[in-house]
Subunit: 410 residues, 2 copies
């Protein structure tokens, strides 16, 4: 906690090894794979302290949830749903078919047939995560979208989460959490049919289980504790910068907040506010010589959330190389993106933003390429293909082209 | 081998467990991670029978390779390069910035900073794979693209592969293969700097190593033996259908070829040709009652390569739900896509086409979302975000929004 040098920011240890967790969850995953529902019930009793009567949530429980949630919250979820749907629809991948003279080539995006979403829960509940995972899956066109979420102590699922799942169009909801939920979605049980891909955030056990099953089903990305990096100049409002850091730090004792600022005065003020507001050691602030230096450090850090709070911030957009989601200007607090502005809040952490994207419609589709060659194309390309195939020692490949050339000559 | 029922097609066992291979390569991966170059040299001697003088390929060796390759082959590679580049450029993901009245929201695609490509080799050489992996990486804008490929018995790298790497714009080439190459790219050695993502096909050891390192770096997808499924009616040319199956089967003793046809006569002819041309048991042919039935089976099979050789094939494009790449009409042989038509030949096998895409520019970028809220947006959305944050028990999230609303009122 406190003021550090810019170099020290890059030494913050955010990526803890999951090896230990992988070994811990391996027997859980194996047991669910072998024994199905009975293992799910056993682990839910052991880890969540809940003796399950039913693994699945029925329609009645969802309907009841609507009655338990206030109209105000339902309206708020509706605002979020609408914006998330709009942004994700408009940024969906589009098919392309191109008429090259020798062939028509194309690429289509086709939904996965099924997807499993993990929505964390237990102590707190995260209806927003149900929206963030469910809406893109349904926009993608996934026919069967299921959610697993840990039950509360009384075996119920938080009504807010149920309502959010329903609003997102989720087809099936199961009250199981942890590594056992991931195993159930990957390999199936008597109650839960397996899915093709598992997405959504979770703790270290959930992430370790996702890594374990990723040899058999697709996963979105490994997840770690939440993070923010703020780049601010002297025009930034110290209270707003501090509060956005504190908001990030309240997620998790392992959450990290970093401020890079050109203003020593701002650094001191922000530090003072953060220190007196929250008890979390993972707050770091560094004074940099320029905004460009800050951007360079940020690109090397690859934060999950990045706030640009300096004069002319919008001009820096093209300089951002590694980040999950970027919030431009003082009004664009991370909290808006967390809930309602429309972008996704399931984002790569721990430096994974260098190679992974946040959740989107693309998470739930795969692309298929198409080609229809013209006779002219076969004539023109044939000789080249034959030569390359022969050079690679694949004589029947060459033969398959020759057969077509012969046919065209007849 | 032979004529089977349509149901039996779906029982063909294409997905062998990699567990055994994962355990075999684990010590190799660990050794490279711990001992770097010395482990690379040791394993290359042990597995490839080659005592390496240099792990890296220098410019001189690449220049010499150009002299060893005929002009005809260089021309053919150039045809391939041009078409691959054109198709992959035109199907690259495009950034979107949208002005919603409450905010400007956007999504940009930013290249990974580095990528490692595995190009199989040893007995045969696959210059085409160097093009198929290298060109999309460079179109994506990856600054550092490296290739690992196994050396020949004399320690050299096949000149064709070197030329193809060079034409694709690959920055560094290393003569290491197998699990040791994957470990080197993931964790780095004295000679090989690590990369952020590893892509490209390989045998079961390479794939197992990719799965092992995928907790630390991104990978494209698991790979298995090559496959083709052909849907054909009575108008199809039996020699062409048979030759495309044989071409697929010559890749690997484990490769699989399947024909689904409405014509019993075609089935017999194709079987006869395949049987007398190649000695590979993994050929299956089933007579179906309709093209629609064949498409349904194919969607459940999710073949790597799918050929549609029937009347009106282009009208069936939208019905294809699971496949790596689709070849429409008799002229569109898989061999064209393997080399030169422009689509990628690094494709999901073993049913993975249900959830994975073939290699593309998208393999080498990640998306970053941006948002710039307007004051109006903060006013309009603020109350909803506060309610949702409070409902999730995240009071400082709510506070961060309140601070902005207060500021706007001042």
């Amino acid at each position: 906690m406190g003021i550090v040098s810019p170099e020290e920011v890059l030494k913050i240890n955010r990526k803890r090894s999951l090896d230990e967790f992988v070994e811990k969850v391996r027997p859980v995953v194996d047991a669910v794979r072998e024994r199905g529902d009975s293992a799910l019930i056993e682990f839910t009793e052991k880890f969540d302290g809940v003796k399950l009567d039913a693994i699945g949530v029925d329609r009645e429980e969802v309907d009841r949830a609507y009655e338990l949630v206030s109209d105000e919250i339902i309206d708020a979820l509706e605002v979020a749903r609408e914006n998330i749907e709009k942004f994700h629809s408009l940024t969906s991948p589009q098919e392309t078919f191109i008429d090259f003279d020798y062939a028509v080539l194309g690429k289509r995006y086709v939904p996965l047939e099924s997807a499993g979403l993990y929505v964390p829960g237990g102590r707190a509940s995260y209806p927003s995560t149900a929206l963030m995972a469910g809406i893109p899956a349904k926009i993608a066109g996934v026919e069967r979208v299921i959610v697993c979420t840990p039950p509360a102590k009384d075996g119920s699922v938080n009504p807010l989460t149920l309502v959010a799942c329903d609003m997102a169009g989720v087809d099936e909801i199961y009250r199981v959490g942890g590594a056992q939920a991931i195993a159930a979605m990957a390999y199936g049980t008597e109650t839960i049919e397996p899915v093709l891909k598992i997405a959504g955030p979770g703790n270290a056990y959930v992430t370790a289980a996702k890594i374990l099953v990723s040899k058999d089903v697709a996963i979105d990305m490994p997840a770690g504790p939440s993070e923010i990096l703020v780049i601010a100049d002297e025009t930034a409002d110290s209270e707003i910068v501090a509060m956005d850091c504190v908001a990030q730090l309240e997620h998790d004792p392992l959450a990290v907040a970093v401020v890079l600022t050109t203003s020593e005065k701002l650094a001191e003020k922000v530090l003072e506010i953060v220190e007196r507001t929250i008890d979390n050691e993972n707050f770091y602030i560094a004074v940099v010589s320029s905004i460009d230096e800050a951007i360079e450090i940020s690109n090397a850090f690859a934060p999950e959330h990045l706030e640009l709070v300096f004069d002319g911030a919008e001009k820096a957009i093209s300089k951002i190389k590694n980040a999950g989601s970027v919030f431009v200007g003082e009004m664009s607090g991370v909290a808006f993106g967390d809930y309602a502005s429309g972008t996704n809040h399931i984002l790569p952490t721990s430096g994974y933003a260098k190679m992974y994207s946040g959740l989107s419609v693309e998470t739930f589709v795969k692309s298929i390429t198409f080609q229809q060659l013209r006779e002219e194309g076969v004539r023109r390309m044939g000789e080249s293909v034959i030569r390359l195939a022969e050079a690679e020692g694949l004589k029947f490949h060459a033969q398959s082209v020759k057969k077509r050339l012969e046919k065209l000559e007849r």
